[in-house]
Subunit: 325 residues, 2 copies
Amino acid sequence: MAARLGEFERIARFFAPLAAPGALGLTDDVAVIDGPDGQEYVLKTDAIVEGVHFLPDDPPELVAKKLLRVNLSDLAGKGAVPIGYLLMTALPRSRDDAWLAAFAAGLGADQVAFGIGLLGGDSTATDGPITLSATVIGRVPRGRTPLRSDAKPGDLVYVSGTLGDAALGLLVLQGKLAGLDAAHRAFLAARYRLPEPRLKLGQRLLGIVHAMMDISDGLVADLGHICETSGVAARIEAAALPLSPAARAVLAAEPQRLSAVLGGGDDYELLLTVSGAKSSALPLLAAETGVPLTRIGRIETGSGVVVIDAQGQAMPVTVAGYQHF
Amino acid sequence: MAARLGEFERIARFFAPLAAPGALGLTDDVAVIDGPDGQEYVLKTDAIVEGVHFLPDDPPELVAKKLLRVNLSDLAGKGAVPIGYLLMTALPRSRDDAWLAAFAAGLGADQVAFGIGLLGGDSTATDGPITLSATVIGRVPRGRTPLRSDAKPGDLVYVSGTLGDAALGLLVLQGKLAGLDAAHRAFLAARYRLPEPRLKLGQRLLGIVHAMMDISDGLVADLGHICETSGVAARIEAAALPLSPAARAVLAAEPQRLSAVLGGGDDYELLLTVSGAKSSALPLLAAETGVPLTRIGRIETGSGVVVIDAQGQAMPVTVAGYQHF
């Protein structure tokens, strides 16, 4: 068996030493470079691979939208206004023009939905699975991009929307939650298949929040990234986690599925820290954007993430996030 | 057999309608967005796939350098100063840390060589071949990026370096030029394996040239792109094409290999058009940068590319360029 580090260790060992100044030491989701007119550009590259991130028979429109949205969600996590993207497609020769036409239709629909355009790209053939990558570019007022390293002890921790739906949706698609009501199953599967980047809310949160990012590796893993980069600890109350009715129904029947909520990944909700004083602005923003914001815990001195159960006890949490290696 | 258009037709049909304003209608190699301080940013995404663009047992250092250089060559074709790149790696689980360490070492060496840094990226697993993509970013004084659409009738056509070496080098690696002198074979193979982006020369040519791009699809195909986008024709003299001693040796033995010079691709030399008046500046720039610049023809009114042989006759040229679909 060849020696293999985990994904985060690989990044730290092999790629972090290569980081440019704008790369924030590769400790954040995005890179930041100077822009015109008092703006800076936020850049993100994210790839999806057939068989890893989507299924071979997933509708091409949905695959296209998922590719754009996982990238746009990173921009949402920085409060950026997206302006465009570059696209890399590596397609097997078995994918015909009908597949590509549907894929392009999906891109076009989301370009309209999110106000972006295709800036350029590369198309190549592959003998392997469909591999798609996008580099998205957004703009933020200069110096205002909220970083993972901006959390401060005493901050409150908030998340948008509801957590765990996508991870539970993957279980639905794998046939593992067959006892669940059909409408709940459909809701969870849709949340897995098509994330909703919280762009408007992210933009409104600029100047209010300290640290902010989108949750893609799972709540505990991503909050752990904030803690590590900021040099702080976080204390989360499990009972405070916002859950959809469908997720509540799952947990009522199978309480151990809470691990999917805490660590499942693919939530694509916002995770942020904010001072107590400024947190009073959040309910109005949530109401105006139609996206709930829920306080789930607090930033403290120290290190690491602790999850407290309903009895006030620290829960053992084994969370790897989405480690693709 | 599923219906499949060629790569260029696929781009025109499915992707061009999605183009953002900065995408130049996807008719150029790069996208251009506004930058700070009187600059604009030039962006390019290019991917390489194991088994398509490189071989499974190619040294990882070389694979890393090839990935960066095929992208940097596009920046060279726009006279841009590179500033950084984002990286996407999709690696099979069989690639161990030793492979990745060597790959990262190759990136690091070329970062130093070309003055760039890693801005960010994404690492994922794949069940297929190694798939690598980079998005490079460079800067050019605002409004000065030379486009494919900038060629004018009466312009002279120049290329840098020598043509056809990489295409012949691929033949060497495929064992098809076994009769050639070993030193020539080694030279051609090296030219295939490791392009040399003409960054310094490209930067010096800004403000002098009209249209400029790097040759990656082959001379005739890429000059055809310039002609189509500029609404002009080009007339090339085969006898004027700059050849390395190794390429000369191949053509002396097998004259039909001229097709590899005209259409082989992977040259990564500069292709440019310039007015007769301004062309007088070129010999000095070539001398100062140590990269030859050779006049190979002329831009005319009309459409299409004509190659004239030593007898003054138009040669039949069937050139597809590198079509990956």
